[in-house]
Amino acid sequence: MRRLVWPAVVLVLLLALNVFFTPSFFSIQVRDGHLYGSLIDILRFGAPLILVAIGMTLVIATGGIDLSVGSVVAISGALACLQISQDAGLFTAVALALGLCLLLGAWNGFLVAGIGIQPIIATLILMVAGRGLAQLITGGQIITVNSPAYKMIGGGYWLTVPFGIVVVAVVLAVTAFLTRRLALGMLIESVGGNAEASRLAGIRSRGIIVMVYAFAALCAGVAGLMISSNVSSADGNNAGLWIELDAILAVVIGGTSLAGGRFSLAGTVLGALIIQTLTTTIYSIGVPPETTLLFKALVVAAVCLIQSPSFREKAFRRRRRAVAPAAATGEKVRVTT
């Protein structure tokens, strides 16, 4: 639980900053039977990121990393939109897209567990080739679809709640149940701690590794459907661009170590919310949007430094001696000048 303190503090600070600039920030209204409000927007636009980050958490818990999710997001949206534009049913389109994502995830898992390639390179292959694949599916064009049913996935509402939020809640609940109420979570952590030892202890490490990569790709696939349905089009080149980096950041901010062996789903959701809130904040307080990345860099650096034990030790020791401000702030100033 203590690991969640710092991310939570950052999120609360960000929200407080918003309230300071827009007092009506917390108000949530029901209009036309739909929920409206800044908080709902954060959840709604953050939904794809949260989904991808949930999948990423499990991959990172096994000591791996999945760089290919951004490409999978693009592929899933591209295939679904292509199917719908060719008059396929919604169910067929979604099933085909998610099926392909599962296959791609299993491919990643096979490279990591079957052939024994480092996860970062194994998924780099699909990250590079997947973008090309997505553009191959769309023929280099942006496919636009006009399907109210498909629009529902990313832009629709269910009992006043945006459908995307419902999907995220369901996935999160199922994942939390599977990993925390059943033994699966412990098995994943033990594989992350030491895959070989786990195998000797009778855990099917390989099966578990393939499973988490397939799950991460499936989550990315659903996120891809959401993103493309929200804008009713598929862009093989730009859909989900850099979402893998945001997702990894969300996981790390949430206190999950990249070394594997331990994970926190709640932390990941907090991390993803921080990233999304940051984006919203920048728009709402009138900072030019082009500096979004700058703020992201500063917040990431701050959160990671605070969580680093050796930084805390050094910073506190320095403060006691009352010399120079913390190293990070000093360095940052020098960079920007």
């Binding site: 990250m127 590079v128 694949l133 990345l293 990431v300 960079v335």
Partner: protein, 327 residues
């Protein structure tokens, strides 16, 4: 890494990946020469150098980082930032190039130094630190300006348009000379100096290197600084090539650079690889693009699919040759 053991056959195992890359390059060139008219000329290879001089310089810097077992995701953004700083200072306040160029190089090296320091001193994964650096540099680009800034400085345009004639109608650009010098200096440093050996030792086994009394911390900071410097230099070469500064230059270039290093036979776990391999990796990537443009009917996205397939083949080969050792 067990790469120092002599492998199957007479070729030491550590030279195998680089040999495979070299053979692949020759095979691709031969296949291109047979298939397309006018392909099998020296100028085609020189054009690969001319079009990829900046990538070559960046990949050389990245090789240092990857040899220590780290990774630098910020290279693409630092390249973009360098073009942006150069263009805005040359065009806005009209600074002379002899001030702008050292400043750009200093900013790049400084960014690398800071990232290296954070990686070393606070024990945060390089992946995350350089990711933050990537966001920072890209963000700084957009803060300077969101539009493309053309460069009209006479010194830059002269540098961009000069052709250095070699024998028999072959020519190169000054950028190629810069890139070749960088490669030679880097190869010397990496393979013939104490610092170079420390880089390999750190990547091979950091704990052992530390126990041997090697300056591991200083080396780690130094490699990120080198990578930052090379990225800034690559950025300058790119601004010669493009004659503009733009925040969207070199998007995704870190992937190309990493792919080049991996195809060149350097292990991402560190400790094993050669600089010549990286050069071959860049050449292979460049040749793929050349072949696709010669083919004419293939769309640009096939480049990515081919690079992905090549990565796959090379990684599986490395896996077979390095025989079971991993992490």
């Amino acid at each position: 890494m067990s790469t120092l053991t002599l492998g199957r056959g007479r070729v030491p195992a550590r030279y195998l990946p680089i040999l495979v890359t070299g053979c692949l390059f020759v095979a691709m060139f031969a296949a291109g020469g047979i298939r397309y008219e006018g392909f099998a000329s020296g100028q085609v290879i020189l054009n690969v150098f001319i079009d990829n001089a900046f990538l070559l310089v960046v990949a050389v810097g990245l090789t240092f980082v990857i040899l220590t077992g780290g990774i630098d995701l910020s290279v693409g953004s630092v390249v973009a930032l360098s073009t942006m700083i150069a263009a805005s200072l040359l065009e806005g306040p009209g600074w002379p190039p002899y001030l702008v160029i050292p400043l750009v190089l200093a900013v790049g090296s400084g960014l690398g130094l800071v990232m290296g320091y954070i990686v070393h001193a606070f024990d945060i994964q390089p992946f995350i630190v350089t990711l933050a650096g990537m966001f920072l540099a890209r963000g700084l680009c957009y803060t300077i300006g969101t539009d493309s800034i053309p460069i009209a400085d006479p010194a830059f345009t002269v540098f961009a348009q000069t052709r250095i004639d070699l024998f028999a109608d072959l020519w190169i650009s000054p950028s190629v000379v810069v890139a070749v010098v960088v490669v030679l200096v880097a190869a010397y440093v990496l393979h013939y100096t104490r610092f170079g050996r420390t880089v390999y030792a750190t990547g091979g086994n950091e704990q052992s290197a530390l126990l041997m009394g090697l300056p591991v911390g200083r080396t780690k900071i130094a490699v990120y600084t080198i990578s930052g410097f090379c990225s800034a230099l690559g950025g300058l070469l790119l601004s010669f090539y493009m004659l503009s500064g733009y925040g969207l230059h070199a998007v995704g270039m870190e992937l190309d650079a990493i792919a080049a290093v991996v195809i060149g036979g350097t292990l991402l776990t560190g400790g094993s690889g050669f600089l010549l391999g990286t050069v071959l990796g860049v050449l292979v990537l460049g040749l793929i693009q050349t072949i696709i443009s010669f083919e004419g009917t293939l769309s640009s996205w096939w480049t990515k699919i081919f690079i992905g397939m090549l990565l796959f083949v090379f990684i599986v080969l490395q896996r077979l040759f390095s025989g079971g050792s991993r992490r």
